[in-house]
């Protein structure tokens, strides 16, 4: 099969599969996840180049993938709707200290994930100290602390 066509098919397949996998899957980068991603990249490489280890094939595929990425980014910039389809939208999962359980269940987020993010960002240990927790499009959870929560002081 034509190299460019292979690149295009693989690019969009990867795009779709990671959208189906959900945001949280990408945010939890454990050692196993890293290994899993490396395995996926190995399989992808085999599917794209097959037995063709020529410099030409590599150059054509790299240009194809970078061009596609550029094109998709341009389209995303022009259309918010397409951007929301490709990247998703942020989602509020905690509101004024109350976990929004149905939203959390549907987006596969647990209270522990929110608390972990709160501890790491602000040293917050309780949901009551959180005004909003937002599951961002990159899978991270950002925390808006409540005004009552004391700011963390540097240990230095």
């Amino acid at each position: 099969m034509n190299l460019v066509l292979r690149g295009v098919i693989i690019y969009f397949f990867i795009l779709i599969i990671f959208r189906f996998a959900g945001k949280k899957t990408l945010s939890e980068a454990t050692t196993f996840d890293l290994v899993r991603l490396l395995i996926i990249s190995e399989v992808t490489q085999a599917a794209m180049i097959g037995n063709d280890f020529s410099l030409t094939a590599s150059i054509v595929l790299i240009v194809t993938l970078v061009s596609l990425d550029f094109l998709v980014n341009r389209i995303k910039m022009r259309s918010k709707k397409i951007s929301s389809v490709v990247d998703g939208l942020p989602l509020i999962v905690v509101e004024k200290g109350n976990p929004l359980k149905e939203r959390m269940k549907l987006s596969n987020v647990e209270i522990d994930d929110v608390l972990q993010s709160a501890r790491q960002s602000f040293g917050i240990t309780s949901l009551t100290e959180i005004d909003y927790a937002v599951l961002e499009t990159d899978g991270s959870i950002s925390i808006v602390p409540s005004r009552k929560a004391a700011p963390v002081k540097s240990s230095e």
Binding site: G22, G50, S84, L89, E95, K101, E102
Partner: protein, 167 residues
């Protein structure tokens, strides 16, 4: 899996911090996600059954009188596949494969090796030095994809081969 799709009722909230979340878009996304997982599950089951090669659904066995041809209906581009003939007739030592069919493959190996090979009447004719029941294996690597078909002849018996090669 899809039962939970209709029951999706995420909390409606008053978004006071200007986050550009659209709960309807999220619900649509979750629904599509679940349909996607269902499709992936079906694909995995199909793959396990051999719809993409190497499984019970993939293998075909044609029997004419005492002779048998076993091959895979579904094979993959540039991946080795076998055509196995089991000949039981005492007098069988000639096997023919249609040339137009063989053009879709790179022939890797024939076991046992034929005594002679020639092309005649649109067929590649293999003569073997065998007597009595024997198995003749052809190892082929597809060099194209899509539907391919052809015929094989063991003495005067004609086997029809129909395969699909995945890209």
């Amino acid at each position: 899996m899809l039962g939970s799709v209709s029951a999706m009722k995420p909390e409606k909230i008053k978004n006071e911090i200007g986050i550009p979340e659209s709960i309807d878009t999220h619900v649509l996304g979750w629904k599509i996600q679940r349909i996607g997982w269902l499709i992936f599950t079906l694909l995995l089951v199909a793959a396990g059954m051999g719809l993409f090669g190497n499984g019970p659904v993939s293998y075909r066995t044609e029997i004419i009188q005492n002779d048998t041809l076993r091959y895979q209906k579904f094979i993959r581009y540039q991946t080795e596949a076998n055509l196995s003939f089991v000949v039981n007739s005492e007098q069988t030592n000639r096997l023919k494969l249609q040339l137009s069919y063989l053009k879709n493959f790179d022939l890797q190996q024939i076991s046992p090796e034929p005594k002679s090979t020639k092309i005649s009447g649109g067929f590649v004719v293999y003569d073997f030095d065998i007597s009595g029941p024997a198995q003749i294996d052809f190892v082929l690597t597809p060099n194209t994809y899509g539907n391919v078909g052809g015929s094989a002849q063991v003495e005067n018996k004609s086997f029809l081969i129909s395969q699909f090669i995945y890209p």
